[in-house]
């Protein structure tokens, strides 16, 4: 049974900002189908009325006082940048 088509794989790849060549699309389609078929197991479980769980230890929002604290200096923040100019990260032109 086909859970996911090649077109869908290509669509999801775009959402994830990945470019896959034809060969990778074919391979991933087969593998994702296997994995998604396995996940169908979950439909065997009756979850009516079960609250979805997102964290193991239930905690309320962890707030701290809204006070200014030291942060990384600009030079340290930019030290790993593939490209930087002045105090900014530099990227290819976005606006024509």
């Amino acid at each position: 049974m086909e859970k996911i088509s090649r077109d869908e794989v290509a669509y999801v790849a775009n959402l994830a900002r990945l470019s896959l060549d034809r060969e990778a699309v074919v391979k991933f389609t087969a593998q994702l189908n296997d994995i998604l078929l396995y996940m169908d197991k979950l439909n065997e479980v009756d979850t009516t009325g079960v609250e979805p769980m997102s964290h193991a230890i239930a905690r309320k929002n962890a707030f701290r006082p809204d006070m200014v604290a030291p942060s990384l200096p600009v030079e340290a923040s930019l030290a790993n940048a593939p490209d930087a100019r002045g105090s900014c990260f530099q990227v290819p032109r976005v606006i024509e």
Partner: protein, 486 residues
């Protein structure tokens, strides 16, 4: 003659206190061992030899001044997922191959403050996604017990480094078994604490509702020593929990007289290796001889753990890994038409195949139209898995299971079949989903000499209980101490 690198933390501390050795000697011994075996094992991505020698010298000065702290002068290795100030931190990925963090994570800070000497950053599956350390951009780590086999994963380098005596102890992270499974496959002790027990600040995120940091050690006492250093609340990490931290050493040697130990029937499945099953049956009888009373318990949703995990973990990963876009740090592709083109080229060349596969699964499971069928459904079944444990722990103090269904498998054996690889975490994933602590302790060897591990599980914040039963087991079982024939 016993070499210094063969000793445990507590044995070395006795020698340091008695003035029988120095941190400089211990550190030199460990690096001598690294020089001898690292070429075959490949446990490390980056060695920190020079800074280690300096840290050892400072440790020796501190000891002379009578200022010996919890880990003064002890050589410790760190999985390359921990941010280390000024030391390259790759997460096993090309996309971070040149990343030099400007800060230390909390665990690194605490270890440093306790006087530890850092030997280096250990190899791992890329972004901790894998069970064999084969997905690392920096090559495969070999199992010290058999170099044709994998060390487990994703913290395979940290486990192999301890087993091969290339450090005295190490740290890893565990999202679905990434400490306990390699600990079992390499014959060392590995503990995954309760979710929230150890701060994840400075740990590169894989799946934020599952990730936990924990130690690899040569024995249970060393595990308690390290937990005393790293456990506790951290205001910089909003999921760390302000729960009291006991003295974990106080649980050593207490015994388990009268303990009720649950054996989940769902964990003795077809496909479990017969030698592993025999070793676990023997571990059960050891626990009985130590005064525990073992009886069957049921965790009815066990069979769904892998399916839940491979929805939840990739979903969280797809979101966490969105930050790798070639803008602020790490790899950036050249020759980009525009910003979108740069993102795609950077991520496609920067991530390996397994990471892409999981990003794809996660993006799909969270995408419009599939969210309810996959992510929401998995989160509901996850709640039932957690409830299974709550019900089981109403009837027992602790649960005993195999850590891994098989001993270490061959390099390359499962790399082309992701589903088979995923099933090797079948006994460890449940603890991450429920957020409970789990610990793997060596419990014997196969006929061909591969280590086997037994896993203990307890309720939230019951790491002390795990150390207590593991210590009782270790004393009663008297598993023969062997060293890999490297």
């Amino acid at each position: 003659m016993t070499e210094l690198y063969e000793l445990t933390i507590h044995e070395l501390q006795d020698k340091l206190r008695a003035g029988e050795t120095t941190s400089a000697e211990i550190t030199a011994s460990v690096f001598k061992r690294i020089d001898a075996v690292e070429k075959e094992v490949h446990a490390y991505i980056t060695l920190m030899r020079e800074s280690a020698i300096e840290e050892a010298a400072r440790a020796d000065e501190a000891i002379l001044r009578g200022e010996m702290k919890a880990l003064t002068g002890i050589p410790i290795a760190l999985k390359d997922i921990f941010c280390t100030r000024g030391v390259r931190t790759t997460c096993g990925s090309r996309i971070l191959h040149n990343f030099i963090p400007p800060y230390d994570g909390t665990v690194v800070e605490k270890l440093r403050a306790a006087g530890a000497v850092f030997t280096g950053k250990t190899n791992m599956d890329e972004f901790a996604m894998g069970s064999s350390t084969e997905t690392s951009f920096f090559g495969v780590t070999r199992n010290p017990w058999d170099l044709t086999r994998i060390p487990g994963g994703s913290s395979g380098g940290s486990a192999a480094a301890v087993a091969a005596d290339e450090c005295i102890a190490s740290f890893g992270s565990d999202t679905g078994g990434s400490i306990r499974q390699p600990a079992a496959l390499c014959g060392v002790v590995g503990l995954k604490p309760t979710y929230g027990r150890v701060s994840r600040y400075g740990l590169i995120a894989f799946a934020s509702s599952l990730d936990q940091i924990g130690p690899f050690t040569k024995d249970v006492e060393d595990c308690a020593i390290l937990m005393n250093v790293v456990a506790g609340y951290d205001s910089r990490e909003s999921t760390s929990v302000p729960e009291n931290v006991p003295d974990y050493r106080s649980f050593l040697g207490r015994g388990i007289e009268g303990w009720r130990v649950g054996i989940p029937k769902e964990y003795f499945i077809d496909g479990i290796d017969p030698e592993v099953e025999a070793a676990i049956r023997e571990a059960i009888s050891v626990i009985e001889r130590a005064g525990g009373s073992c009886s069957e318990v049921s965790l009815p949703h066990t069979d769904y753990c892998v399916a839940v995990y491979y929805v939840v973990a990739p979903a969280e990963a797809s979101s966490n890994l969105a930050r790798y876009d070639g803008v602020k740090y790490g790899y950036r592709s050249g020759d980009n038409r525009d910003l979108l083109d740069m993102y795609k080229k950077t991520r496609s060349a920067g991530f390996g195949e397994e990471v892409k596969r999981r990003i794809m699964i996660g993006t799909y499971a969270l995408s419009s139209g599939y969210y309810d069928a996959y992510y929401r459904k998995a989160s509901q079944v996850r709640a039932l898995i957690k409830r299974d444990f709550e019900q089981a722990f109403a009837d027992c103090d602790c649960i005993l299971t195999p850590t891994s269904p098989t001993p270490a498998f061959k390099v390359g054996e499962k790399t082309n079949d992701p589903m088979q690889m995923y099933l090797s975490d079948i006994f460890t994933i449940s603890a991450n989903l429920a957020g409970i602590p789990g610990m793997s302790v060596p419990c014997g060897y196969t006929k061909s000499g591969l280590p086997i591990g037994v896993q203990f599980l307890a309720g939230h914040f019951q790491e002390g209980r795990l150390i207590q039963i593991a210590s009782a087991y270790e004393r009663q079982a008297k598993i023969e101490k062997r060293r890999p024939g490297l």
